[in-house]
Structure formats: C-alpha cells, structure tokens
Symmetry: C2
C-alpha cells in the first residue's frame, strides 16, 4: 500500500486502529511511514508514547476529552476531525495548543460528516478555524464505508469515483482561500482496488494490514493476503452433524458475519496452522455459529477426520478490526509475541 501511495503521489497516513500494536507500527516505519491515523484519543496517546509524532484522530472530536487532547497537542503534531459548528467552536474556545483540523465530509456513506452541499455550514466552520489562534485547517476527509456494502468491484469503484468527485469539487471551491488545503480518503476496498485517485492528496486505509474474509468477499484482497488468524483449540467433535467445537467464540472473533453466494452465514474460515504459515481454507468448512466462547465449525468428512481434539485451528476472521481488537495478544509464526495496546 505504501508503494502504491508513492506511485500515485499520495500522502500515506495508514490507520492503526486495526492492529493497535506499537510493534506492528514499526513495520510501517520501515516502509517509510511517519504519519498515522487512529480512531480514539487513547489510541493516539498509546502511539504518541511509542514515538509517533504526526497523528490524525479520524473520529468526530469527543469534547469530553479536551484535557487529553490539549496534552497531546503539546506533544505531537495533532490532527482532529470536526463535523459540526458546535464542536469546532468548542475547540476554538478550549484548545491551549495548536492543532490542525480536517472537516469530516459525507460523500455518500451517511454515517458521519457534513454533506458537501451544506456550504453555509462549511463556510461557518472555516470562518471559525480561520480566526482561531490555535486551529489550522488541513482540509476535507471522507470515509466511503458504503464500499463495504458493495456487490462488485465495479460498485466499489463507482462509490470511490463519486467520493473523489465530491472532494475534488470542495477542493476547487476552497483552495483559493486555503492554498494548502488537502483532501483525504480512507476505506480499504477503494484504496485496494482503485487506480484513479483524481485530486486526492492522502489515503488512510487501515484494514488492509490484515485484510479479512469480508474484504475477500468484496474482492478487495486475495485469500493469500489475509494476514491474521485466530488460534482456536478444538474441544469437541460431533460426528452426526459433522461439527467441530472450537474454543473461539464471539469474545474472540466478534459476531460479524458475511453471507456467501449460497446464503450461508459465515463467521470465519478455518485453516491449518504450521510454523511457517497456514493452509488454504479447509474445503467446504466454515464457522457457522458463535456463542460467547464456542465456535461451531461446520465441515465435511475428510476435513472432520483430519482434525482431533487438542488441535489448534486457525480461523480467518470476517472482520479483522473487531477480532484483532478482541485479541489479548498476537503471536508470529514460531511463537514470538507481538505487543498490542
């Protein structure tokens, strides 16, 4: 992804919310990364404590954390996300140190952000920022989370093109007043699949560090790209149902699921782990149900017979961000522990 950003002349500010690991962060540094994105103040503090000095908190500013935000702004180059006049006014009145702001723009996902057509609101926010002693404008930021609901690569690209078109319009409108204004996008499906980034200045993908079964279903990655598996001990086998009970439930995988083309709800795909990596997903096998600690692996006779109580099965998660958040620790092949927030 770093290489792609370089080729496309895009600033690369990867999102660290997926791995939440200082040690994995170092791998990014080796790839030339110095600016990062996080989704909470506590994550920003964690990575600042691990030497990151240029951090965007890509979540609408939580004004209840103003003390921590002020402290961070003294220590690092801090970027905040605003999407309302109220919040930016609050920052204007309460920031003691300098911080930059991105305006969260809703280019179609309709989760958060200001619609690019709400020019009056945008103008007012820009006025407050311009007249503020401690706030600087960076630009506009969008996250096309609606690509996660797309049914084809074409649809992902269409959503992406529409998002960059809207950001491009905002950029042309305001760059005369803010010559350094930048526009930034974030979602992993677009960043993985798109070749055209138009006027975009920066990308902030996060999930791609691990990818997952959902991204595979979206066509955003290959099965070989998935880089995290949950190690689940086998605790029981039920021959009559061809089911294997894994010690790996909703508190390990999260309850995120995908529906496959046969209508089956899938909570994860099983692989066999060895010291060097893992196998392809085991054929005709998937995690079909989850409760708090149990995962039910639905399988077929040959796979069923090859797995014994006491084995450890890897489960490729449907949503790696949630599964990694639930993980208490990571291990590399060979068993080296990798630190985590």
């Amino acid at each position: 992804m770093a290489e792609k950003a370089r080729k496309k002349h895009l600033e690369f500010r990867p999102h660290f919310k997926t791995h939440q690991s200082a040690e994995i962060g170092e791998w990014f540094r080796e790839a030339g990364v110095s600016k990062i994105t996080v989704s909470s103040v506590s994550m920003a503090i964690y990575f600042a404590d691990h030497g990151w000095e240029d951090i965007l908190i890509a979540f609408p500013v939580n004004i209840l954390e103003i003390d921590e935000i002020n402290k961070l702004a003294q220590e690092i180059k801090l970027f905040l996300t605003v999407e309302s006049i109220g919040a930016v006014q609050f920052l204007e009145e309460n920031m003691d140190s300098k911080a930059s702001v991105y305006i969260k723009t809703d280019t179609g996902y309709h989760r958060t952000g200001i619609l690019p057509t709400e020019i009056n609101q945008i103008d007012e926010i820009l006025n407050i920022v311009s007249s503020s002693a401690n706030l600087n404008l960076t630009g506009f930021l969008a996250h096309s989370g609606n690509t996660y609901e797309a049914n084809s690569k074409r649809e992902i690209i269409d959503i992406h093109e529409e998002s960059i078109r809207q950001l491009s319009e905002l950029k042309s409108r305001y760059i005369r007043y803010f010559p350094e204004l930048r526009v930034s996008i974030g979602d992993t499906p677009s960043c993985s699949l798109a070749e055209n980034f138009g006027d975009i200045d920066e990308i902030r993908p996060g999930n791609y560090v691990f990818y997952d079964v959902m991204q595979y279903f979206l066509g955003a990655c290959s099965m070989e790209d998935i880089a995290v598996a949950i190690a689940c001990p086998v605790v029981a086998k039920h021959t009559d149902r061809m089911e294997i009970v894994l010690y790996g439930g909703a508190v390990h995988l999260s309850k995120e699921s995908v529906i496959d083309n046969k209508g089956k709800e899938i909570f994860g795909l099983p692989v066999k782990i060895n010291d060097l990596g893992w196998s392809k997903p085991l054929s005709y096998s998937y995690v079909s149900r989850l409760s708090q600690e149990h995962g039910i692996l639905q399988t077929r006779p040959d796979v069923f017979d090859s797995i014994q109580i006491g084995d450890i099965i890897g489960v490729l998660p449907v949503h790696s961000c949630l599964a990694a958040n639930l993980a208490k620790q990571y291990f590399s092949f060979g068993g080296k522990e990798i630190s985590k927030m």
Copy 2:
C-alpha cells in the same frame, strides 16, 4: 435468583462469565453464594485468586490447558465439563489432583454435549471416571441455549420442560450407580421464567446479573431489570436524518442485534443517565447501526432536540455478556470504579 433457588431447593451456582468482576462476585457472596460457574480456565484462575474455592468450568475441557487445570485442582474444588470419551480419557491419564466432572448433555440446543440417547458413549465415559483415581462424577449438565431463539415465554417453558425431562431420565437411569449424581441447567431465560424444576438439582444462570435488551425481548426480564448501560459520549448530530452519532461502536457494544416486531434491527436502546440511575428507554429511539467506534442513534425530534454534543447517553446493550466483556471498566452511579478481570 438466589432467593428463587432457595425456595425451589436448588443448588445455586451462578455463572460469572457475564460480569467477570471480583467485586461484583462479592455481592453474590453476600447473597449466600459459595459455588460458581465460569467459562474458561483463565476466568477460574482469576476467581480462585479472589477467594472462590468451588468452581465449575462449564466449557468442554481444553486439553491444551492441562497444566493450569492441574494447578487449579490442587488449590480449589474444581469441576470440569466433558463431552467425549477422548477428553475424559485424557483427563484420566493426565490429572495429578482430584477433580469432579460434569458430563455435558445436549438436550436440544445442538451446540455441544452428548445426546442423552447415546447411552454407549455415556456408559463408557462413566466407566472411565469410575475407575479413575482422580476423577469423580458430579452428574449431567445442560444449557438450553435454544431458549434464546424462542418466540414466546410459552416456547421457553416448553424447551425448559423438555430439557429437564431428558435430564430427569438420565438421573433415574444412573442414580442407582452414582447415588450422589446431580443434574444441572443453566440458561437465564429458563431460570427466570420457569416455576417447575422437576428433578433438577442445580441452576447456573449468569446473564441475569445484568440482563439486557435481548432478554427483555424474550420476556425473561422487565426493562427495569436491565442493570448495565454503556456510557457513550455524543459526538455529532444530523438533523436531516434525526441521527445522533455516539462514541460507542462494535468495540463497545458488540455487533449482537435483535429484530423488533416492526422488522427494525436494534443494536441497543438509549437511556439518560443521572447520579441515581437512568431513565426509561428514550421513545422511538434505538441504535440502528454500528461500525468499529461509531454508534448511530436513530431518534425523533423531541429526543433529538434534548440531546447535545458532549452529553453522555447510556446504551442498554442487546447482549450484556458481550458488551461487558468488551468494557475496560465498570462504574457505579456516582462514579465509583468496579474492578473487572
């Protein structure tokens, strides 16, 4: 629940996986509880470290944790759950200290457990236990998790009656060989709603400590019984959609949802918190979508207008076990922190 167990002459062995808190555990001790249930070896170690000396791990024994299990068996009165000949054979060969076993019985949920009709398998397990120096039989244990899929209280009671009928048959069959044999059930809907417990000796409900929106929808509790809410700061408001953005996403609430009678998918219900408690759920309002850190509160004009950026909204979780597991800390009203695993 302790009172109900006393009245019905049932041993009470509440499940502590929902709260995972030593301090909340003390409230149970005050209610006369001395025997508990947990769902993992690590949870057993945590509660053993906090003075609990009679613990059942109600999860099929994970033979990879035999060292920790042996250590626990030296320190406390330990009960293990088995559901296969292989696992019980492993215990027979590898337990250095005494432990008691429950045989997990599948009375209709079809997640884990041996069917009561698989008499040969049960006999073989009982033979291994009987001839073992370190293993004792406690009896049969079931968990009617299928009550969570019931559509009425009647259906919950029917599932419960069927479960106790099967356990009762097992008890009559084997009690002549094991005069102290006990049968145990666990699910909160049955334990909350049932009046008849037949030959049941022990109940192990856990969720009821907090209850949640799912239990309310099942009819297992009233709205006033729900005893945990996730405190979510308000970070944005979107007038055009009557949506409020909460800092409370899938990493706080889990992705568990319920479908209401109008077909709406609900991820939580909002309440206003004060120093003494919280309000009824805010009318016509519910958490309609979740991403990693964002929760979208769908609401109506009067509620929308009464909530401002910087407020803290309580969200009653759909599944308190998963939400509480995700919580990093609890606070009582008044702000006292309550310790957690």
